[in-house]
């Protein structure tokens, strides 16, 4: 598979309504009707948001033909969080080394000249 997957997840979560839907699904499955309740929007509009979340792999719909409850796939969310956290940790490690470099630099280092010449 391509890098498409992660992009879709990021894009799906770019919308505040969809983030809200994901947050509510985190506490349990819900039907489209239940999800639509707090919003001043049609079932159709909510279904559209769900379709985007579904395409990104963030939610699935139950097989129950009548209710088709919406289920949050927490693993996809976790995978994304894990990547961002790993990236963050690598940056933090790098900047801790920079902390050490900065601490070892002599005090009163000459400032670059106002003209911006290289040191």
């Amino acid at each position: 598979m391509t890098t498409d997957g992660l992009s879709k997840v990021f894009a799906a979560l770019a919308d505040p309504t969809r983030r809200d839907i994901v947050a509510r699904l985190a506490s349990g499955d819900a039907t489209v009707g239940q999800l639509a309740e707090p919003y001043a929007m049609s079932l159709q509009a909510v279904s559209k948001h769900l379709k985007v979340l579904e395409d990104a792999g963030l939610v699935t719909r139950g097989r129950d033909a009548q209710r088709r409850p919406v289920h949050l796939e927490t693993e996809v969310l976790d995978a994304m969080t894990t990547w961002i956290e790993r990236y963050r940790r690598e940056a933090e490690e790098r900047y801790r080394r920079l902390d050490d470099v900065l601490a070892a630099m002599p005090h009163g280092t000459p400032h670059p000249t106002p003209e911006g010449e290289r040191p």
Binding site: M1, T2, T3, G5, S7, F10, E92, D100, V101, M105
Partner: protein, 160 residues
């Protein structure tokens, strides 16, 4: 996610950006010099466990750079141009992983004087596509692009 000393990461949703924010207990002049002096850069820029070799580092407006990370005979080289360098304040540069030579990110480093000898660094990387940006986040390039996506493959495959 936000702390005063830890690194903060923000992933753009409208644009393929990664924004890194970090504060340092050092004045702006020192943080700037640690980015422009190749001898200092080589001490911190390389990832852990990889050897960092600076091939070229001419950090001034119109200058260029190239560096190599190596481990067990494998080499990962990166290069780019310094587009705008303003002492103590700003470095705008391009960034290319030579393994993907057609892809280039635009990077902007802003140093903010917080007073009392402290500095805030904000590094923004704008990828040339969401896919390229996501590959950066998912792998960190040097640690293997494939690994992260294999894991997502597994997760997505399980869903049927």
């Amino acid at each position: 996610m936000t702390t005063t000393t830890g690194t903060r990461i923000d992933i753009g949703t409208d644009l393929p950006t990664i924004v890194i924010t970090r504060e340092f207990d050092a004045p702006r002049s020192k943080v700037f010099r640690a980015h422009t002096d190749p001898d200092l850069v080589s001490q911190w820029l390389g990832p852990r466990g990889l050897e960092m070799t600076v091939d070229r580092w001419d950090c001034r407006t119109g200058g260029e750079y190239r560096y190599i990370h190596s481990r067990d005979g494998e080499e990962y080289a990166f290069h780019g141009s310094f587009h705008e360098v303003r002492p103590e304040e700003l470095i705008v540069q391009t960034f290319t992983f030579e393994g993907m030579p057609d892809s280039v990110a635009l990077e902007k480093l802003v140093l903010e004087d917080l007073g009392e000898g402290r500095t805030r660094l904000v590094a923004t990387s704008l990828g040339d596509s969401f896919e390229a940006r996501d590959a950066m986040v998912a792998s960190g390039m040097e640690t293997g692009i494939v690994e992260g996506y294999e894991r997502l493959d597994e997760v997505l495959a399980q869903q049927g």
